[in-house]
Symmetry: C2
Subunit: 218 residues, 2 copies
Amino acid sequence: MAKKATGGGLRERKKQATRTALAEAAVRLAAEHGAEGVTVEAISEAAGVSPRTFFNYFDTRDDAFAMIDAGIGERVRQAVLDAPAELPPLTALRDALAAELAGIESRHELWDLWAEVLHASPHLLVRSMGAHLADELALARAVTQRLRGGEEVPEDEPPGLYPRLVAAVAATAVRVSVAHWSAQGTGAAGRSVPFAEIFRETFAQLSAGLPAPGPGTD
Amino acid sequence: MAKKATGGGLRERKKQATRTALAEAAVRLAAEHGAEGVTVEAISEAAGVSPRTFFNYFDTRDDAFAMIDAGIGERVRQAVLDAPAELPPLTALRDALAAELAGIESRHELWDLWAEVLHASPHLLVRSMGAHLADELALARAVTQRLRGGEEVPEDEPPGLYPRLVAAVAATAVRVSVAHWSAQGTGAAGRSVPFAEIFRETFAQLSAGLPAPGPGTD
């Protein structure tokens, strides 16, 4: 599996930056005014683009709320395909996700806002869940492709149990790591354990088969 | 950890049967008329109880849609506490969940209906997600109690990383097993692999640390 250039070009990165700016603007406006009160015009203006450009990225206003960073899924899939052949799939996934989560401390406030917006507008939450489930299946497909030495997987082939499980468990590991990190609170001393450490420990427990921890370390 | 009788009494089982009958009636009526058109009176009548009895189980009509069988969580937690001390937590969880999923072939049609009802009424889906997340945290608490030899966990103590992870991964394993089993389709020959076999394989992969499967077996 040689390093491929797909998805990494300057043009592609600019497109992803615009898409992310639009999603962030949508969330910040919705947090302030409620999602129903936010127009495509207002989102576009806040992101510094025209409404016409908005519709190059999203079919409807509501689509802007489905994912806070739609580029993550594509980058993780590519990284899983590009990772050294000797890495187990779970390790390739861990490294790909760790790279995306490296800036979590600075983005967490935005993610919390986004979660609030979705919970306040359940139809947006349903849309977001659908987008994340589709992303999970696309990741399972990338794992399948990796297991086959890079050979393309037919579009209509449903993922096998292992690729589906490893993709879903990785998503769960991200959710649990973030929740555990957040639950530490933000006292005067800040969060006591850095996110990267909790994330590594989570995947170490998964790779070990989730054995019971030693006495006094639950 | 000796076998305890809590949760297994006849009175408790009757209560759970009534609660489940009400939830099932609510889902079947909602699938036919839409959730908004279903009254507490209609649900109660279909389940053969009075509206007053309905309100012994649910605070509002919408609460009847949050869980299709609210007894499952309580039974799984109790089984995790009662399982032989030598079983690893993941195995205790697997056995507890397997017992609950034993009748899945006969209940799957109802679960599909329920999923349709929730997706058609996003505010019910949000309520259901909240109930399931609370159940997952309660399960993490039961795992913590098991790891401490049965010692009660203080109400305000947040779960540690391991109990939270093992509870969330077990829930993910159930979701993936059901999805993989359903995706086999229902041709003239029926589903080719029984659910119990897929479920066992899923937990075997988790216990082994999700290693890559051998060539040609993804």
